[in-house]
Subunit: 87 residues, 2 copies
Amino acid sequence: MNLFRFFSRGQSAPAARERLQVLLAHERAATGDSDLVNKLRDEILKAISKHMQIDDEKVSIKMERGAQVSTLAVDIEIPFNGNKKAA
Amino acid sequence: MNLFRFFSRGQSAPAARERLQVLLAHERAATGDSDLVNKLRDEILKAISKHMQIDDEKVSIKMERGAQVSTLAVDIEIPFNGNKKAA
C-alpha cells in the first residue's frame, strides 16, 4: 500500500487548479465482502460528479487488493472552473 | 493534518469485524469551493449506507479545514453482518 506516498505528494496547491484526493481502505474480516471497494468506487465517483465537472483524463484511479486490506486511491485534478457546477 | 497517523493505526484486521476508512483531501486554488468537502461527506456517507448498515455509534468523522487544504476522515466499524445488505 502506497498510502503514505500518495498523500505526501501534492500538498502544496498550484496556482490555477485544485485537486481532490479520495483514499479508501477496506480492512475486512474473513467473512467480508471482497467487492465492497469496487462498489464504493463507482458510488463515490458518481457523487463527486454531481458537484463538479470531471474530465476523465484528469482522473487517476488506483486500486490494490490485498488478502485483508483493499485500497482505492482516486486523484482528481479539477480545472479552473470545474467546481462551478454546484455553485 | 493527521493523515499519516490516521492510516498507520488499525491495519491489522481484527477477527470479528471489519473496517472502512475514507480519507478525502481537497486542495483548492484561491477561487475554489470551500464547502466541497462538506458536500462530498454527505454524498459519500449516503453511498456507503446503500451498501451496508452503518451504526452511527461506530462511525467517526473528523474534518479539518485549512487555508488551502481541507481533509475529511471517516472511519467506520462494520458489524459482523453489516455488509450483508448488498449481498
